[in-house]
Assembly symmetry: C2
Homo-oligomer: 338 residues x 2
């Protein structure tokens, strides 16, 4: 990492790394259990974002209790998906997370992948350390930072610490800790549909209506990009991303008894399947072209041609209604189209 | 039941039945598994609505595959809770549901309770029969109509027929059938939190945004009353009632592939615990007095008295700041309150 202004300027003048676009890189918050044997939509997208054949990926398995085994799995997967290189960076204590040698491993990567496990362990080990800062710096210089499960939760400024599943939000059912802050003003939850985490995410939004609640299903990614001053969230993968916007909420979160169901009235919800784009700044769906049915489009084009022909015929005054009917019958024999 | 206009007028002139308030009666949509051994909040409320010691209750166990056994349980419960009389009315075929003798059993009741089971069976047997009409007529003349589980679903104009649990709304995961229509423009789902039915209720709202989605948790009732031209929903019991308002929805429900997650953006959600009141016509929470902390109120009252005393003293010009400090110290020795 640069030590002074001169070196930073020099770094800015250097050509960007192959596989990295200058400016803040994309974030991928993956809801856990991403497909590893089939279409691998989410993992392939990550390798692509990391530069494809130029990808040099650091796997951070700190959240997991199975460090080397987890790295082995992702090493094989990312190489199979075309990545040039995969390295491990596994601080297990805050001391290790401040070790310059370990931190330097992130200097040349084009992608960082944080595995699942326990997000409180991940946060306890790396938040506020040189290693945590290096992940943020890598994100700032264009590196894609992805995380699955615990590795997704830690990306936001506010992190779900833990808490049970269940649909109904209840007082004190979950707790918030500080995440890495790669994205502000939101809280990311994962295994969302599969572990029934509506309640705990709603509880957080009820207590902290300034935070946007983002729930990511398994084998699904919320891909956050910063382009032209806009923070956009695009959904990739098999499930959905659910968003709770509590700006207009009416709640009793400041006075409800422990374990009591919470009042949370007026929450605006967005359930977003693959391909949806959501504007995180304006907190609204980016409308997309409606799908066009090709047979309907063709029929409309034919009708348009017929109408222009009819107009020409009428203008020329050379056609009787009977002639017109006969000509049309020749052009479109009955029953040709429904 | 009255056969002609004269008899209807005569009926209108008669005193209302004891335990029945004239005008449409309350509806109670209970989310299933209502407490039968402990506080029995929901069942006690039903007996109360039915007239308490004047209550004469018809149990309709048609949805259930265990007719007499179910009646026995509710018979014992309602009598224990103070009801004067409990009868069974169990049509098992549409023929029976058109039998005048069976239908007449509802003429003198003050409450109707539809048990759980299979709502499609209940709807298939009673919808559009004399028995179904008699339930509606009873509701119109002020009788409370309650139903738990299947008996809750059938009350609305549109009924969830069946479908799996799961949080993410997916295309064709559930189906709608016609309910009794005691309440219009909504669809009621039950065992809502416990069986994770967000997805299927959202799918229905995405396809039919004119319907308000109402999900009722177990041991919880959505009590719908019609007063002063307003339809109000009040929550009773241990869980919450969740409402999905799709008026502003953006959805791809008309074109999504089968089993694909649905786009449902801009749904306004209300999670309502016990005591909440929701205006079904305006589709908004009825704001209630905030709870007042008694110690805070007392402190404020004391401060108000002190200030008035101070103003009098200043107006009289008979007090120095030092005297005032001493007097206040005598009145409120340090540490008396936090």
């Amino acid at each position: 990492m640069p030590n002074g202004l001169d070196e930073q300027d020099a770094a800015a003048d250097r050509d960007p790394q192959p596989g990295v676009t200058p400016g803040p890189g994309p974030l991928m918050a993956i809801g856990g259990a991403e497909d590893k044997l089939g279409k691998r939509t989410v993992l392939a997208s990550f390798v692509e974002h990391a530069g494809g054949e130029h990808a040099r990926i650091a796997v951070v398995p700190t959240a997991s209790s199975l460090g080397p085994e987890v790295v082995e799995v992702y090493d094989a997967l990312f190489r199979k998906l075309g990545a040039a290189d995969v390295i491990a960076a596994r601080p297990e204590t805050r001391e290790e997370a401040n070790d310059p040698g370990l931190v330097a491993r992130l200097d040349t990567v084009t992608g960082i992948f944080m595995t699942g496990g326990n997000q409180l362990k991940l946060s306890a080990v790396i938040s506020g350390t040189a290693f945590g800062d290096a992940i943020k710096a890598a994100h700032e210089r264009g590196v894609v930072v992805a995380g699955t499960s615990a590795g997704a939760s830690i990306q936001s400024s506010h992190m779900v610490a833990f808490g049970p599943g269940g649909q109904t939000p209840k007082q004190r059912m979950t707790q918030v800790a500080a995440g890495l802050g790669l994205v502000d003003s939101c809280v990311i939850d994962q295994h969302f549909g599969q572990r029934n985490r509506y309640g705990r995410l709603l509880m957080i939004v009820a207590q902290s209506p300034s935070l946007l609640g983002i729930g990511v299903d398994e084998d699904t990614a919320a891909v956050i990009t910063h382009t032209g001053g806009e923070d956009l969230l695009t959904v990739e993968g098999r499930g959905a991303v659910t968003i709770f916007d509590g700006r207009a909420i009416v709640s009793n979160a400041h006075e409800a008894r422990k374990t009591a169901p919470l009042l949370a009235s007026g929450v605006v919800m967005h359930v977003l399947p693959e391909g949806s784009v959501f504007d995180l700044t304006e907190r609204r769906l980016v409308r997309q072209q409606a799908e066009v049915d090709p047979s309907e489009a063709e029929e409309l084009a034919v009708a348009g041609r017929d109408l222009r022909r009819l107009a020409r015929d009428i203008a020329a005054g050379d056609v009787s209604p009977t002639q017109l009917r006969r000509r049309r019958a020749r052009q479109h024999p009955e029953g040709e189209r429904a």
